[in-house]
């Protein structure tokens, strides 16, 4: 198995827990197997030592400019998932019902179309 994301100076990380949760920062120095020095001037993360358990490696390295990384990260599936999770947690009971009905409608359309295709193939 080949790792594509490694802990290295310049690796952009996503802070998954603790202070500055949900922000992006860059690894400035690797202290040991567990801890790294990170800094995120554009995202408002103060330079400091963090445990790698609190960080998740992104596919970006600081070769791309910091501001662009932020934009690119927002486009990624990962960021979209975070957004959707936040949206879902804010849903009220009626919203959940509406979502359920919308899903039912969508699945019905898919089912009908699939049946048509199957019939055409026979």
């Amino acid at each position: 198995m080949v790792f594509h994301r490694v802990v290295q100076v310049g690796r952009v990380v996503f802070i998954s827990e603790g202070k500055d949760e949900g922000k992006l920062a860059t690894i400035v120095n690797v202290i040991d197997g567990n801890r790294v020095l990170i800094d995120g001037p554009t995202s408002g993360v103060v330079r400091g030592v963090r445990n790698l358990k609190e960080l998740q490696l992104t596919k970006f390295t600081a070769a791309v400019e910091e501001a662009k990384v932020d934009e690119q990260f927002k486009k990624s599936a990962w960021a979209k998932k975070i957004q959707q999770k936040a949206l879902k947690s804010r849903m009220t009971d009626f919203d959940r019902y509406k979502l359920m009905r919308a899903k039912q409608m969508r699945n019905r359309i898919i089912r009908v179309e699939l049946a048509k295709l199957k019939k055409a193939q026979k």
Binding site: S89, R90, Y97
Partner: protein
């Protein structure tokens, strides 16, 4: 004859393997081999500074209760207990007994005009316009009280009252833009899915 003596049945029994219901000391006490220590309480003449005197509680229920959370009329509630549990119902009025007056509407989910304790409902953020709905004065706590011990049967009066209130509620739901969804919502039962925890949900 040897077999004539009565077999003694031990008081002690296993709660679970290896764990007995009564301790040895307790059994000795029961057998009368040991007398419990008698604690002698000193009789003080004056009550202590923080000692309560007189009746602790007033006997009987107080007639008026205030509801903790103010619920606005028209709010949709989820019933958690009783025969209508899981149903989403419309709240109409606070009653002096502290109970909530709710209705299904009966046509949508089978819940008639009835009372429910506020502890048994979840308040949702959804509100239905009930400005035009008038709850007649004769619908109060006495109205719902059981009149006799004979098994209750729905009276014509209640059917009529439920119907008259429900028709005006249904009319106001109809005015809503997405009334079809609203009706479907009230008609379906609430349930928790996988990985859904009520304390994490917003209602």
């Amino acid at each position: 004859m040897v077999g004539k003596t009565k077999p003694t049945i031990g008081r002690n029994f296993d709660l679970s393997p290896g764990v007995l219901r009564f301790s040895t000391a307790r059994l000795r006490l029961k057998r009368g081999q040991k007398t419990p220590l008698k604690t002698v309480t000193k009789q003080t003449e004056k009550p202590l500074a923080l000692q309560r005197t007189g009746q602790k509680f007033k006997l009987g229920h107080s007639q008026k209760h205030s509801t903790k959370k103010a619920i606005a009329p028209g709010t949709v509630l989820i019933i958690l207990a009783g025969r209508h549990k899981g149903k989403r119902v419309v709240f109409l009025k606070n009653l002096p007994s502290g109970l909530l007056l709710v209705t299904g509407p009966h046509k949508l989910n089978g819940c008639p005009l009835r009372r429910i304790a506020p502890a048994f409902v979840i308040k949702t953020s959804l509100k239905i316009d009930v400005a035009g709905v008038k709850v007649p004065d004769h619908i109060n706590d006495d109205y719902f009280k059981r009149k006799s011990l004979i098994e209750y049967k729905v009276t014509e009066e209640r059917k009529k009252d439920t119907k008259s209130i429900d028709t005006s509620i249904l009319a106001s739901i109809k005015k809503n833009k997405d009334h079809k969804l609203l009706m479907g919502y009230l008609a379906t039962l609430f349930s928790l899915g996988k990985n859904q925890y009520p304390h994490n949900l917003i209602f």
